[in-house]
């Protein structure tokens, strides 16, 4: 019960391995009692609440490559796991090619929290409400993971298994997230509905990305990701199909928004009711799609 929230962090041992291999090995050997962390903004909160009781916290922030942010005109963008959200939001490469990602980062908590909070932490935390996850999904993010058996790549779209559950295994460390070049001419938006204007967790989050695409009958490809309305962040496939096949009209957008609402499976919680959330998925999907459509001009 949160009444028992600790005044301070409970006891644990802070570990800072020198190499990735060492870190991974330590985590694997202490499976169940060791946990990697980056900004700690999720981990510490859950430790004070008593939900997490790790014996070891493994600081993976200063490991090789974790702080790199690189853009390659051929390969796209790679963001080291430890790069904080303010850095992502301010990076010229991100602003130029993936402004949606910067926009999503800026909706998280507060500036001072984002000095610590990371996109990879947001993803690994696997909250259905993670604000940066929609953008990462729509940009087809791929995680670089260092496991006990060496490095591997894992697409984000198959990463989430449930609230707080991912495909990560003991010893796995996400070292970076990589994005291919964004679709030519794409435009996006993130609409976060919280109780406050800013800084709250989302009641509903709608991320939309659209781009011209000759392969689609409508000439455009639109994608919508929904957060806080299902056990895992959701890409509403029906929206994409609907707007690929039908000419983009206000009615088509309404229909797509309706399909988004239909795809959502929200629950009641302290932040909002399922009924309201479902309504909002529809309204905000329409708003987001219209905004993107306008930007596509």
């Amino acid at each position: 019960m949160t009444l028992d929230t600790h005044p301070t962090l409970p006891e644990f041992e802070y570990i800072r391995p020198a190499t990735l291999a060492e870190a991974s090995d330590f985590l694997a050997r202490h499976a169940g009692e060791a946990r990697p962390f980056l900004g700690g903004t999720d981990v510490f909160v859950r430790m004070r609440d008593g939900f997490l009781t790790p014996r070891y916290l493994v600081d993976v922030k200063r490991l090789d490559g974790m702080n790199d942010l690189r853009f390659d005109p051929q390969a796209g963008l790679t963001i080291g796991a430890a790069v904080n959200m303010n850095r992502v939001a301010a990076a010229p490469e991100v602003q130029a090619h993936y402004p949606l990602l910067a926009e999503a980062c800026r909706t998280v908590a507060s500036y001072q929290l984002r000095t610590r909070a990371t996109i990879v932490g947001n993803i690994c935390n696997a909250s259905p409400a993670g604000d940066t996850i929609g953008a990462c999904l729509l940009f087809d993010g791929v995680l670089h993971i260092q496991g006990v058996d060496g490095p591997r790549l894992e697409p984000l779209k198959s990463f989430f298994l449930g609230p707080g559950k991912t495909t990560l295994k003991p010893g796995d460390i996400v070292t970076a997230i990589q994005f291919p070049l964004p679709p030519q001419g794409c435009q996006g938006t993130y609409i976060k509905l919280g109780r406050n204007k800013l800084s709250d967790l989302s009641i509903v989050g709608v991320t939309a990305l659209g781009c011209p695409d000759a392969a689609c009958a409508s000439g455009y490809r639109f994608r919508v990701a929904l957060t806080s309305v299902a056990p895992v962040p959701l890409v509403a496939g029906a929206v994409e199909t609907c707007l690929a096949e039908n000419p983009i009209t206000p009615d088509a957008i309404q229909e797509a928004a309706r399909l988004a609402a239909e795809a959502s499976t929200p629950i009641d919680d302290v932040r909002g009711s399922a009924r309201y959330r479902k309504q909002m998925v529809g309204k905000l999907s329409a708003r987001a799609l219209n905004a993107v459509w306008r930007k596509l001009g």
């Binding site: 009444l3 009641i203 309201y276």
Partner: protein, 784 residues
């Protein structure tokens, strides 16, 4: 008459003097309770609390906890049999026989570290027998409800509080004025409504902190984040059965209070634990989560209103029923019930009125004082009914208020007459500034714009004999030291105290210090820093103290100069004679006096002025009718207006503009007054849009900032205006009366009225969250 030689506008009253404590606060030097350094002897306390809303304690086993290395003491209710409470002593320091809310303290631990104290809590075993909880005040007031305080009839209680033994009603306040039943048929319009106002928290950014130390001699010192050092001295000493002289309370800077740090709450826990580890300071700091669970809450309210007026719009009758969700203990909340009763007409003249205001025990968090003391909750419904009534008879809502609002000499709900009041001017200022009657276009097609206005009144709610005292003394350089027992919670009262003392004595503001921190051993008595009463009550005491010092000074000089006192004045720190044009700076006489001629010795001596104030004219009210000569000292009145937009797609409300106008009698420091109006508006707005303690089965669902949201910098309106109206208070210093609490009283109904203006919906209570507004619009067919 000779012009005084010392020139310049020397009275700082009415001037925007800089805050006396701001420099310390912007440099990090200001010391708050948790900042005091106690060294290695400091022990840390944690509290074992009930996880159940209602249960009997069958057994508490602390043996394992006591055995844990590092644990210095474990205490339970067994050790402290005394009751405690402000108006009604219905509470033990630690629970003894039963627990009545989730968070009720059952045991306390002192240990050498917080971590060890925490571990010890887990080792304390408590056996409970669960009892059915009371979770609704209306149900709780009924005969079927389980009895939460079987001993209610035996509790010590103030003589103006009326507990009903054998029920859960700890106070029943009644108003019976005129002939309500007969009046309904003369009404052309009647509105009947029910509202539910949720529990909210005060949310000072500093949580409660207390450090207690008990000497081997039994002398107790308590350092606390406190609005009420003297009340804490008195009540804790009483409960522990010791002399008040053995209890010393030191109150450093307070990081916000808003009522929750008044009276006694967790401070008694720290003191109780400290009695078992004599010689060691014991620190108890509430976590933010504990603060949400266990600090005084603004109690919930279920309110019924029936209000009628004639065809011309004149209010004829009111019948009000208030069920206050007082929570587990209502030692303080009982007086909220009373205050809302004697103010239940709102700021209107109503010839026929019947009110029943009941404080009901429930198994919810403990209700207590919060900024507004029942008035925001009561006005939330009442001021919406007024709008609805105006609408029914097709009268403009502001015209309706102009017609019915209290004016100087109006007959009040309690039978007495209204003192001079600027309420009509407040209405004009607010209506004018918001552009009443003019509808501006919405900023986007999916938005609707609306305006709303609401009035308020509020008296300081306190016992009739709540007193203040003050002293002033001068130093060798002529600087003035002002002793007060009131506390600066951020409202700026130390600054205002310095301004008043400077003006009353005749010294420059810059030469005044306030003797802080307040320390009950050295500071003069002050009842409590509550009820927006300090500028007025403590101000009067300061003026009296300054007058006393002035008299002493002038008598000395008059004798020395052989001039009548009437010729003398103190201007800018210099005693002058209008007649002889002689002058002597204060520093030349306030310590050592003045020499007599020819080595004949000295006259005068160190100057210490003392003064007190108590409103000796306050009378009681008849327990059956609530009628009396002068129930309260005065009413501050005011109006607020808002302009807002509702987003039709989400239900989100954006407050575009907020206007406040209050009659403060006299603004001693106008900018500080305006700062109260702004801060109060935003706090009121926050309670209107975001805040509620979500209680499910007695268990709080949102005990942290994650899910108890308050207004942030991005939510506050960009356009906030504050107007000061000054119709002097006959017994206020320079005519001043209070403003601290009033500024959040009319905000909820002003916003509710504006929402109605924008989209035509009314909700049964705040918070007006986007979800509630949207779903109401959906259900009403306003949006699809």
């Amino acid at each position: 008459m000779v012009e005084p030689k010392v020139q310049g506008n020397i009275s700082p009253v009415g001037e925007n003097k800089p805050r006396i404590d701001a420099r310390e606060k912007v440099t990090g030097a200001a010391v708050y309770a948790d900042d005091i350094q106690f060294g290695n002897g400091l022990l840390h306390a944690r509290i074992k609390r009930s996880p159940h809303p209602h249960a009997l304690i069958k057994k508490i086993d602390v043996t394992k906890a006591r055995a844990l290395p590092g644990v210095k003491a474990v205490v339970t209710g067994e050790d402290f049999p005394g009751y405690i409470g402000l108006y009604l002593q219905d509470r033990y320091i630690f629970c003894r026989d039963r627990v009545r809310y989730v968070g009720d303290p059952v045991a306390g631990v002192a240990a050498s570290s917080v971590e060890i104290a925490e571990q010890a809590l887990d080792l304390i075993e408590v056996e409970y027998e669960l009892l059915p909880p009371v979770l609704d005040p209306e149900f709780g007031a009924g005969a079927e409800a389980p009895l939460l305080h079987p001993d209610l009839g035996k509790y010590v209680v103030a003589n103006f509080i009326f507990p009903q033994a054998g029920t859960n009603i700890s106070n029943h306040f009644k108003i019976r004025k005129g002939d309500v039943d007969g009046a309904w048929e003369q009404c052309a319009a009647v509105v009947e409504r029910k509202y539910r106002i949720p529990h909210i928290q005060h949310v000072p950014i500093e949580t409660h902190v207390a450090i207690a130390k008990v000497e081997v001699t039994g002398e107790i010192t308590l350092w606390g984040s406190s609005q009420s050092p003297f009340a804490q001295r008195n009540l804790i000493a009483q409960s522990m059965g010791i002399s008040q002289s053995k209890m010393r309370v030191i109150a450093p800077f307070v990081g916000g209070g808003f009522g929750c740090k008044a009276g006694v709450s967790m401070e008694a826990l720290a003191v109780a634990i400290a009695t078992k580890v004599k010689g060691h300071p014991v620190k108890l700091v509430l976590t933010r989560e504990e603060e949400f669970y266990t600090a005084f809450v603004r109690q919930g309210l279920v309110a019924y209103f029936k209000i009628g007026c004639d065809a011309q719009g004149r209010l004829l009758a009111m019948e009000n029923k208030f069920y206050w969700d007082g929570g587990a203990y209502t030692e303080y909340g009982v007086n909220v019930t009373r205050a809302s009763g004697y103010s239940s007409s709102g700021p209107y003249e109503v010839p026929n009125i019947k009110t029943d205001s009941c404080c009901v025990y429930t198994n919810h968090p403990v209700g207590g004082p919060m900024r507004g003391f029942g008035m925001p909750e009561m006005h939330a419904g009442l001021e919406q009914c007024i709008d609805e009534l105006a609408l029914q008879i097709k009268m403009d809502a502001v015209d309706f208020r102009r017609l019915n609002c209290l004016k100087t000499g109006s007959s009040l709900v309690t039978g007495s007459r209204m003192h001079p009041t600027g309420l009509p001017q407040c209405i004009e200022k607010a209506a004018d500034a918001i552009g009443w009657g003019r509808k501006a276009p919405a900023s986007a097609p999916n938005k609707r714009r609306g305006k709303g206005l609401a009035l308020m009144w509020k008296a300081p709610a306190m016992p009739p004999n709540a007193g203040s005292s003050a002293w002033v003394e001068l130093a060798e350089d002529g600087s003035l030291n002002v002793g007060v027992g009131g506390q600066d919670l951020g409202q700026g009262v130390f600054t205002v105290a310095a301004q008043m003392a400077a003006a009353a004595l005749g010294v420059p503001y810059e030469s005044v210090r306030v003797a802080i921190p307040v320390d009950t051993r050295y500071s003069p008595y002050e009842w409590q820093t509550v009820a927006s009463r300090l500028t007025w009550s403590m101000g009067n005491a300061i003026v009296n103290a300054a007058k006393d010092a002035r008299r002493q000074i002038l008598e000395t000089v008059s004798a020395a100069w052989e001039e009548p006192i009437e010729n003398l004045d103190i201007v800018n720190g210099v005693v002058i004679s209008f007649k002889s044009e002689k002058e002597v700076p204060l520093k030349n006489l306030v310590i050592y006096g003045l020499p007599k001629p020819d080595g004949q010795g000295w006259r005068g001596g160190p100057i210490v002025g003392r003064g007190n104030f108590m409103p000796t004219y306050v009378t009681g009210l008849d327990p059956e009718t609530g009628q009396g000569e002068r129930a309260v000292v005065h009413y501050t009145t005011g109006a607020q207006a808002v302009e807002l937009e509702v987003d039709l797609e989400t239900g989100r409300i954006d407050i575009l503009r907020g206007v406040s106008a209050f009659d403060v009698g006299k603004a001693i420091n106008p900018e500080l007054v305006k700062a109260q109006m702004e801060g109060g508006f935003v706090q009121g707005m926050s309670s209107a849009l975001f805040e509620s303690l979500q209680l499910k089965g007695g268990v709080l669902q949102n005990p942290s900032f994650v899910d108890y949201r308050i207004a942030t910098s991005t939510d506050a309106p960009k356009d906030l205006e504050a107007f000061i109206v000054e119709v002097p208070q006959d017994d206020g210093p320079w005519g001043a009366r209070g403003i601290g609490e009033h500024s959040m009283v009319p905000t909820i109904p002003a916003i509710a009225n504006a929402i109605y203006d924008a989209v035509g919906i009314r909700l049964d209570g705040p918070p007006f969250t986007a979800e509630k507004v949207y779903l109401a619009m959906l259900d009403a067919g306003i949006v699809k």
